[in-house]
Amino acid sequence: MVNISASVGQGGLNKHADVLAIQQALNRILPNQGGPAPKLKEDGLAGPKTIGAITRLQRANVGLAADGRIDVHGPTLARLNSLLGSKPAPQPPAPKFTDKNLYAPGGPTANDIKQDVFGDCYFVATLGAVAQENPKIIKEAIYYDPNSQQFRVRLYDMKGHVKYLWVTQTELQDNVNRQGGSYVDNTGVYERTWPAVIETAYAKLFDTNPQDGLGEGYSKIIKGGWPSDAMMAITGNAGTQVTYHYYLTLGTYGSVALLGAKVSTSLQQHKGVTLWSVPEVDSRSLWQKLSGAPIPQDGLVDNHVYTVVSMALNGTDWNVTVRNPWGTNMGVGEGQDTKSATMTVSLRNLVATGGLKAFQVSNQ
C-alpha cells in the first residue's frame, strides 16, 4: 500500500518523499503486470525513467489514461495499490472533540454547564463560577494536541500539586454517553465541549486504573465533595469560605449587608463564587407548628452548589442571582420551580431560613 501527499510524474508536484514511495511501489510490481524492467533507481527524483514506468503501468492496465502521472486520489494509484495487494488506508474519522469546538465565540461561560445525572454539583458549579469570572483559567487549563487528538488538562490534587491528565476522544465520548456536565449529550451538537473535557479529566484524576474505563473515577466524584475541593482542583487554591456572622453592633440587617458586600466585591474583582445551600432550619413558633404551617423555604435545592452570577443591592438586603448547574430550576421541590437556569433570591431570606451554608470565593 502506498499513500502520497501530492501528484507524482508528468506535470506533478513530485515531492521527494512521494516520488520515492512511488518508485518503491512500482519496483514491487511484476513486469507482466506493468512493472518497470529493469527496476527504477529509488532516488526520489521524477525523471524520464520514472515517468516512463508510470506510463508503462497505465498502458498495461486497461482503463487507465497513459498520461505518466499518479494523482493522490486518482485511478492509477488505486490500481497500483490493488496490484500491491492492499487498498489505500481509509482516512481516520475526523475527531469530534478539538480545540475548534471547545468554546462558544465568547469563550467559556457558566451557561455551558449542564449537570444531568452525575452528583458532582460542587465541581461543575465551580467550573461555571471560574469560567464566568476568570475564563482565562479554563482556557489555560486545556491544551489540544492535533497529532494525538487528545487533550491535556491541568488540574490540581487535594494538596495543590499540579496534575496533567491526557484525555482521549474515546473517554470524551464516554462522558457524553454517560450524560456528563456539558450540553453535548442534550443537543447532539459537538460544541461548547470544554465541560466534558475537564469533567473527564477530573474523573481520571480519581481513577486508579483508567485503562479499564473511568467508572471508578466517576463513582468517586459523584459521591459528593466540597466546593473548596473543586476550587482547589480547578485553580490550585481552595479559595476562601465566606459565611454569615452576626455582629451585635450591626444587627441582623447590617450583618447580612456586610456579607453581601463581601461577596459582591469578590465578583467585581472577577473572582469565581459558588453558593452552598443546605436544608432550612425549622424556625417556626410553637403556634405555627401546631397550626401546621410549613417550614419557610428559600427556593433553592438543599445540599446543592450553585454558581453565583451576580449580587445586587436591594435596599438593606442583597439579591443573589445564582445559576443552577442543572441548567434548569425545575424539580427543585420548594414551590418556586422555573425553567430558567438562574434564580434570584434574597440573601436576608437565605440567612433567616438557615438555607445558606457558605459562599466559596476563588482566590484568583
Binding site: 452528583g119 454539583c121 454517560r178 435545592v301 434548569t328
Partner: protein
C-alpha cells in the same frame, strides 16, 4: 426422639415461614417530587423491574414498587437529589455497588437494616426526555446473604 417435640418444631417452622411471608417490609419511603405523576404498572415498568433485578445481582429482591412518569423538563439529577435529601434527613446513606456505572446504571439503593429503598430509571433514558421512574422497596435476598 419424642414425637411431640418433633411436632412442635414443625409447627414453629411453619409459623415462622408464614410469618416471614406475611411480614410487611418497613423502610422509609421518600415522597416523589410534585411534578411526578403516579402511573400503573405496564410492560415498560416490567422491563424496569427486570433491569433493577439484574442490577441488584441477588443482593436484594423487589418486594413492591410504585411507578411515576416524569416530564422531560425534570432532569434525573433532580429526582435523585430529592430522594437523597429526604434520606439524608433520616441519616440513611446510599450504597454504591462495585459494579455500578455512573451515567449508565440508574438504580440508586438506600439500605435500611436488611432491606432497602431504591429509585430507578431505565438504562438509556435521556435526562431531558420523558421518563419512567420506579420507587422500589427491596427485601434482603436470603440466598445472597449466605
Amino acid at each position: 426422639m419424642r414425637p411431640w417435640k418433633n411436632a412442635s418444631i414443625v409447627v414453629a417452622l411453619a409459623m415462622s415461614a408464614w410469618g416471614c411471608g406475611m411480614a410487611e417490609i418497613k423502610v422509609f419511603q421518600p415522597k416523589p417530587l410534585d411534578n411526578l405523576k403516579e402511573v400503573p404498572a405496564t410492560d415498560d415498568s416490567k422491563k424496569l423491574d427486570a433491569e433493577v433485578t439484574a442490577f441488584l445481582r441477588n443482593q436484594y429482591a423487589i418486594a413492591s414498587a410504585r411507578y411515576y412518569q416524569a416530564p422531560g423538563e425534570i432532569p434525573w439529577i433532580a429526582i435523585s437529589k430529592s430522594v437523597q435529601n429526604q434520606m439524608a434527613e433520616k441519616s440513611i446513606q446510599r450504597t454504591m455497588f462495585d459494579w455500578y456505572e455512573p451515567g449508565i446504571d440508574f438504580v440508586e439503593v438506600y439500605p435500611e437494616g436488611k432491606n432497602a429503598f431504591a429509585v430507578a430509571m431505565p438504562t438509556g433514558t435521556k435526562s431531558n426526555a420523558d421518563k419512567l421512574v420506579g420507587f422500589y422497596i427491596l427485601s434482603a435476598n436470603a440466598a445472597a446473604k449466605k
